[in-house]
C-alpha cells in the first residue's frame, strides 16, 4: 500500500487506496423489511427502486428495533429469502462493479497504447531505489525483490499510521492529508496527463484555456469526491483518479519490480484484511463500531444512500441526499486517501444513530451496494496496463489479463455473498491476472502467431 505523503519536493507519491470489498450494510439482519421487500420485489427488482415509505432495506439503525420482533417470527422463511436476495443482489453487484473496473482499464490501456510518455523510462520513484539496468539476471531479480520489500514496508507503515490516526480520532489530520493528496492527483497529474495527450496528437493549446479546463475539472472533482455530488459524477471522478494513479505506477515502476510488487501486494492484502490484527480489518471494525462511513474518498461505491428526514419527528421526505455511504465497506486496506468527504459523512452520520429507532418509515432507504476500494481499481489497471505496455505489442495478452481479472472479481464477489464480511479483492484477481499474463505472453503467443501466419483457425 502506498500512502500519500505530502512531500511537495519528492516525486509523485503514489496514493493507493485499497479497500476490501464489503457489502453495503454491516451485519445483514434478516429483518422485517427484508421479508417485505423480498415478497414485494419478486424476481424483478431488488433494491432498485426507491420506494419511499415502503419497507426500507435494512440499515443499521432500523435493524436494532425491528429485528427483535421480526427475527423470531420469520426466521426460517427469512433465511431463505435472504439467501435468495443475497444472490440476486450479488449478481447485480457483479455487473455494477464490472462496468467501472472495465472503464478504468480501458482508459489506462488506451492511454498506454497511444501516448508514448507512459512507456518511456524516465527515472524511478524514491520508493524503488534499486535500478534494474544491471547486466546479470540474478542481480536484477535481487534488485526487484529489494524494491518490493521497500515499497511494501512503506505501505504497511502508512496503513498502520492511518489506522492509528483513525483510532485516536485525529480526523482533521486525516482529512487534511486526504485533501492534499487528492488535490495533487486532480491538478498536477491531470495537468501532466493532458500535456502528454496534447503532445501526442499535436494539438495546440494555450495556457489560459488549459488553466481554465484544469481548474474546472479539479474544483468539481474536489467537491464531488469530498463533499456531495451526483453519484455518477463521483464515480466518474474516482475512476479517473484511479486511472491516473495507475498510469503513474506503470510509468515509474521498473519492469520486474512491478510484477513482484503486484504479487506481494495481493499477499499483503490477504493478510491485512483477514488476520485479526490486520490494519485494514481494524479500520473496518472501528468504523463499524462507531457507525461511521469510512473515508468516501477511498472507496468506490456502487449504490447510494438516501437519507431522508434527520432527527425530526415529521418524517416528511426532505429530499434524498445522495451520498456515497462508504462506511464499513472500506475494509480493504487501501490507502486511506485523504478522506475528503469523510468529515462531511461523519457529521451527517452521527445524528443518524440517534434517530428514533422506532419509526421504521424513517425513510432512510439505502440501496445495498457493494464497495470496492480504489486501490483495487488502481492495481487491476496497473496489471492490465503493464500487460498492454510490455507484452510485445500483443493485444491477446491484454485481453486475457482483462478476462482473468474480471473472473477473479466475480469469484471474490461470490465469496463476499457467502461470507458477508470484508474481503480482500486483490488476491484472486491478481493471481489469475499474473498467471494469464505470463502464460499468454510466453506460451500462447507463439502458438497464435504461428496459426495466424498460416491463417489457420482453431
Amino acid at each position: 500500500m502506498i500512502m500519500f505523503m505530502n512531500n511537495s519536493d519528492s516525486e509523485e507519491e503514489p496514493c493507493n487506496e485499497r479497500t476490501s470489498l464489503m457489502s453495503a450494510e454491516s451485519p445483514p439482519v434478516p429483518s422485517y423489511q427484508d421479508g417485505l421487500q423480498a415478497s414485494e420485489a419478486g424476481e424483478a427488482q431488488p433494491h432498485r427502486k426507491r420506494r419511499p415509505g415502503s419497507s426500507c432495506s435494512p440499515n443499521n439503525v432500523a435493524d436494532g428495533d425491528m429485528s427483535d420482533s421480526g427475527v423470531p417470527v420469520r426466521e426460517g422463511a427469512l433465511e431463505n429469502e435472504e439467501e435468495e436476495l443475497t444472490l440476486k443482489y450479488g449478481a447485480k453487484h457483479v455487473i455494477m462493479l464490472f462496468v467501472p473496473v472495465t472503464l478504468c482499464m480501458i482508459v489506462v490501456v488506451a492511454t498506454i497504447k497511444s501516448v508514448r510518455f507512459y512507456t518511456e523510462k524516465n527515472g524511478q520513484l524514491i520508493y524503488t531505489p534499486f535500478s534494474e539496468d544491471t547486466p546479470s539476471v540474478g542481480q536484477r531479480l535481487l534488485n526487484s525483490v529489494l524494491n518490493t520489500i521497500i515499497m511494501i514496508s512503506v505501505i504497511v507503515v502508512m496503513t498502520v499510521f492511518l489506522v492509528v490516526l483513525y483510532k485516536y480520532r485525529c480526523y482533521k489530520f486525516i482529512h487534511g492529508w486526504l485533501i492534499l493528496s487528492s488535490l495533487m492527483l486532480l491538478f498536477l497529474f491531470t495537468y501532466i496527463y493532458l500535456g502528454e495527450v496534447l503532445k501526442t496528437y499535436n494539438v495546440a493549446m494555450d495556457y489560459p484555456t488549459l488553466f481554465l479546463v484544469i481548474w474546472n475539472f479539479g474544483a468539481v472533482g474536489m467537491i464531488c469526491i469530498h463533499w456531495k455530488g451526483p453519484l455518477q459524477l463521483q464515480q466518474a471522478y474516482l475512476i479517473m483518479i484511479s486511472a491516473l494513479m495507475a498510469l503513474v505506477f506503470i510509468k515509474y515502476l521498473p519492469e520486474w519490480s512491478a510484477w513482484v510488487i503486484l504479487g506481494a501486494i495481493s499477499i499483503y492484502d490477504l493478510m491485512a484484511v483477514l488476520c485479526p490484527k490486520g490494519p485494514l480489518r481494524m479500520l473496518v471494525e472501528t468504523a463499524q463500531e462507531r457507525n461511521e462511513p469510512i473515508f468516501p474518498a477511498l472507496i468506490y461505491s456502487s449504490a447510494m444512500m438516501w437519507t431522508v428526514g434527520m432527527a425530526k419527528p415529521d418524517t416528511a421526505a426532505r429530499g434524498p441526499s445522495q451520498q456515497m455511504w462508504d462506511a464499513a465497506e472500506d475494509g480493504r486496506e487501501n490507502h486511506r486517501s485523504p478522506s475528503r468527504t469523510d468529515s462531511q459523512m461523519s457529521e451527517m452520520r452521527s445524528p443518524l444513530p440517534t434517530h428514533p429507532i422506532t419509526s421504521v418509515e424513517e425513510l432512510e432507504e439505502e440501496e445495498r451496494g457493494v464497495k470496492l476500494g480504489l486501490g483495487d481499481f488502481i492495481f487491476y489497471s496497473v496489471l492490465v496496463g503493464k500487460a498492454a505496455a510490455t507484452a510485445s505489442g500483443d493485444w491477446n495478452t491484454t485481453l486475457a489479463c482483462f478476462v482473468a481479472i474480471l473472473i477473479g472479481l466475480c469469484l471474490t464477489l461470490l465469496l463476499l455473498a457467502v461470507f458477508k464480511k470484508a474481503l480482500p479483492a486483490l488476491p484472486i484477481s491478481i493471481t489469475f491476472g499474473l498467471v494469464f499474463y505470463f502464460s499468454t505472453d510466453n506460451i500462447v503467443r507463439p502458438f497464435m502467431d504461428t496459426l495466424a501466419s498460416h491463417q489457420l483457425y482453431i
Binding site: E83, D394, N396
Partner: protein, 208 residues
C-alpha cells in the same frame, strides 16, 4: 470466455512443449506439429465446453432450489446461447485483433507473394467462426441435456472439420465456401434445436 482461455492455454502448452522437444529446422515437421496442436486445441475447447455445461447445470439447480417458484430465472437454453456466444467472441477476438491492430499500420498486404485478400478473408472467417461457436453452444447444451451423444459427436466433428478446412487457406474457394455452408447448416440445426420452425418464423414475420 474464461473457460475457452484456459483450454487455449493448455493446448498452447502442449504445442509449445512439443515444438521445443522437436527439431526446429524441419519445417514440414513444424507444420505437422501445428496441425496436431490445432487438433488438440479443438478437442480441448469442446472438453471445456462440456465442463462449462456441467458447471452451469449445477448452478441452474442451485438457482432453481432457492427461487420462489422452483424454476431458475435463466433457462438452460439462454445459458447455452450465452456460453456459445462468449466462446465465439473470445475465440474471434483472439484470432482477429492482432490482425486488426496491424492493419492500421503502414504496409502492403501480400507483398511477399501471399494473398492480397488476407484481411478481408480473415474478417469473414472470424465472423463465421463466431457464429459457429454460438450455434455449437446451443446444439451442444441441448444434446447434453437430452443425452443425444451422436449430436455431440457431430458437433465435435464439425468443429474439427471447420478447423481443418482453414488449413487449405490460401485457396479461399476451397475453404471459405464450405465453411459458410457449414455455418448456415449449423445455424439451421441450432434454430431447430432451440424449438424454432418454419411456422414460428412465419408467425414472427406476420406479427409485424
Amino acid at each position: 470466455a474464461f473457460f475457452w482461455l484456459v483450454s487455449l492455454l493448455l493446448a498452447s502448452l502442449i504445442w509449445f512443449v512439443s515444438v521445443h522437444l522437436s527439431d526446429r529446422e524441419d519445417s514440414r515437421l513444424q507444420y505437422a506439429l501445428l496441425i496436431f496442436g490445432a487438433a488438440v486445441s479443438v478437442l480441448l475447447q469442446e472438453a471445456f465446453r462440456f465442463a462449462y455445461f456441467k458447471l452451469l447445470k449445477k448452478a441452474d439447480e442451485g438457482l432453481a432450489t432457492i427461487s420462489e417458484d422452483g424454476r431458475s430465472p435463466i433457462s438452460l437454453r439462454q445459458m447455452a446461447y450465452v456460453s456459445g456466444l462468449s466462446f465465439g467472441i473470445i475465440s474471434g477476438v483472439f484470432s482477429v485483433i492482432n490482425i486488426l491492430a496491424d492493419s492500421i499500420g503502414p504496409g502492403v498486404v501480400g507483398i511477399h507473394g501471399d494473398s492480397p485478400y488476407y484481411f478481408i478473408t480473415s474478417a469473414f472467417l472470424t465472423m463465421a467462426l463466431v457464429l459457429l461457436h454460438t450455434f455449437w453452444g446451443v446444439i451442444f447444451f441441448d444434446a447434453c441435456e437430452r443425452r443425444r451423444y451422436w449430436c455431440l459427436g457431430l458437433v465435435v466433428a464439425s468443429h474439427l472439420l471447420t478447423s481443418g478446412l482453414t488449413f487449405l487457406n490460401p485457396r479461399y474457394e476451397a475453404s471459405l465456401v464450405p465453411i459458410f455452408i457449414i455455418t448456415l447448416g449449423t445455424g439451421a440445426w441450432a434454430f431447430l434445436t432451440a424449438g424454432g420452425s418454419l411456422h414460428n418464423i412465419l408467425k414472427c414475420l406476420s406479427c409485424k
